[in-house]
């Protein structure tokens, strides 16, 4: 358990090798965040999207930023060239490349899209595109199109707290981009557990 304790005591200034903040750790949202209220006011077409089935109920894969929004915890692991987000939900992951590569052009749509990250001061800015239109943005069923562009700004406010500012830009679904901020808390001395959707499908 030693390393877990060491990680949890690192503050936001505990620099990684290149002087960047260390976001590593197991994080749990304070509460499940719904972006529905904010999104509804900007929806271009309410009817077109209401009947879409919940992909979580089919055990395909969840979506972005839905996986960030709880209630299950996630873990961040960080290397110089890549940040990995491990989600307890679906035991699935996202790779965020921070080695300077550009986002792919015209990518094959994917459930969790394609992500690259860069540092803006002490904030990790993750840009993601290339989503299919089958996922929900949150547990409340907020829809999106394949034009979705998600920007997540990860800022470790102090050792125990991470703020994630999430901007949804999808001009085919919403009249304007909009932003919500999620607060997550470090879970020291805890590890993720395996969660296989199909074993829990009701």
């Amino acid at each position: 358990m030693l390393a877990a304790m060491v990680v949890s005591s690192l503050g936001p200034r505990a620099a990684m090798a290149q002087g960047k903040p260390d976001l590593s750790g197991v994080w749990k949202p304070d509460k499940v965040l719904s972006i529905r209220a904010k999104a509804n006011a900007l929806l271009l077409n309410h009817k077109a999207t209401e009947s879409k089935r919940d992909p979580d109920a089919n055990c395909t894969l969840s979506g972005v930023p839905r996986l960030d929004l709880g209630p299950k915890p996630f873990k961040i692991l960080q290397s110089p060239d890549e940040v990995v987000l491990l989600y307890q939900d679906f035991t699935t992951f996202r790779q965020v490349f921070t080695d300077g590569r550009p986002l792919p052009q015209d990518p094959q749509p994917a459930w969790l899209g394609y992500s690259v990250g860069k540092w803006d001061g002490d904030t990790l800015v993750v840009d993601s595109i290339g989503f299919n239109d089958l996922t929900w943005l949150d547990n409340a069923g907020t829809p999106h199109s394949e034009a979705l562009h998600v920007t997540e700004r990860f800022h470790r406010r102090d050792a125990g707290h991470l703020d994630i500012q999430i901007t949804i830009d999808d001009p085919k679904t919403f009249s304007h981009p909009f932003t919500v901020t999620e607060h997550v808390r470090l879970s020291p001395n805890v590890e993720l557990t395996e969660f296989i959707c199909l074993e829990n499908r009701k």
Binding site: L77, F93, Q95, R101, L112, Y114, L192, I196, L198
Partner: protein, 254 residues
């Protein structure tokens, strides 16, 4: 028809998405004069002198996915009698009840034999394996912790790793007893202790020596060796089994 069904089972492991970032050059890869990755260059080492096992790896064909004991003679697998009977029944039933047919995960130690790439990454205190198949991950803790006493049994179990010379050695317990180690159906019970020795002998090649110690299913520990190769200049794709699973209802057994 039987052959087709078996093919369908195996196909369920394969990724369907198209290439993205698939031609992205791997950082620090040794190159031959023509610019290709030099697969026979020496194995890289980390700053602390250990062999660096990170990279994207792929099983050499279907051999060990079909039969983890492919290199052994049939009588060299030390089955307990009930396990031998179960294995025979599974083979006669053409693998109908393989959890993979229902998009349940492959467990330890089947994952590395699946014919989809896996990516090994190293972080302080843990080794991480990202699997293209099913888009799931496995954590291997290297911070000196011991096996937990109250671990809930799972498909991948609980894994800790350490270095033994140039071998990265992974011990796994806490498996859920539902695992088929291959599509033939070699069983693995919740009593299993699996030891995997990852041995990268040059830039492009690795052996994974796997020892199965499962006294409930086998009379003594037994060992096999798999031989994945490195995939340079590429990245993992996303693979979602439930998106594509048209096979399950057609798999009928004998």
């Amino acid at each position: 028809m039987k052959g087709l069904l078996r093919a369908a089972t195996l196909l369920s492991f394969l990724a369907s998405a198209q290439a993205q970032w698939l031609n992205y050059p791997t950082k620090n890869a040794p190159r031959t004069k023509d610019g290709k990755p030099d697969m026979s260059a020496p194995a890289p080492r980390t700053k602390d002198g250990k062999v660096d096992v990170t990279g994207i790896w792929l099983a050499n064909g279907l051999k060990y996915l079909i039969n983890i004991a492919a290199d052994l003679k049939p009588d060299e697998v030390p089955f307990q009698p009930w396990a031998a009977a179960l294995y025979k029944e599974r083979r006669e039933n053409l693998g109908r009840d393989d959890p993979n047919n229902l998009c349940l995960p492959s467990g330890t130690p089947e994952k590395e034999a699946v014919t989809s790439p896996f990516k090994i990454m190293q972080f302080p205190g843990e080794m991480l394996i990202l699997y293209e198949s099913r888009t799931i991950y496995r954590e291997i803790f290297t911070d000196g912790r011991t096996m937990p006493k109250d671990f809930k049994p799972s498909w991948q179990g609980f894994s800790i790793g350490h270095w033994d010379g140039d071998d990265f050695v992974v011990e796994t317990t806490g498996l859920n007893g539902k695992i088929w180690m291959d599509t033939n159906g070699h069983p693995l019970t919740e009593a299993a202790h699996v030891t995997e020795r990852f041995r990268r002998h040059d830039y492009g090649h690795m052996d994974i020596q796997i020892t199965i110690d499962d006294p409930k299913a086998y009379t003594k520990p037994w060992t096999i060796t798999e031989n994945p190769h490195l995939m340079a200049d590429t990245e993992l794709l996303e693979s979602v089994c439930e998106e594509n699973n048209k096979d399950a209802r057609h798999i009928v057994g004998k």
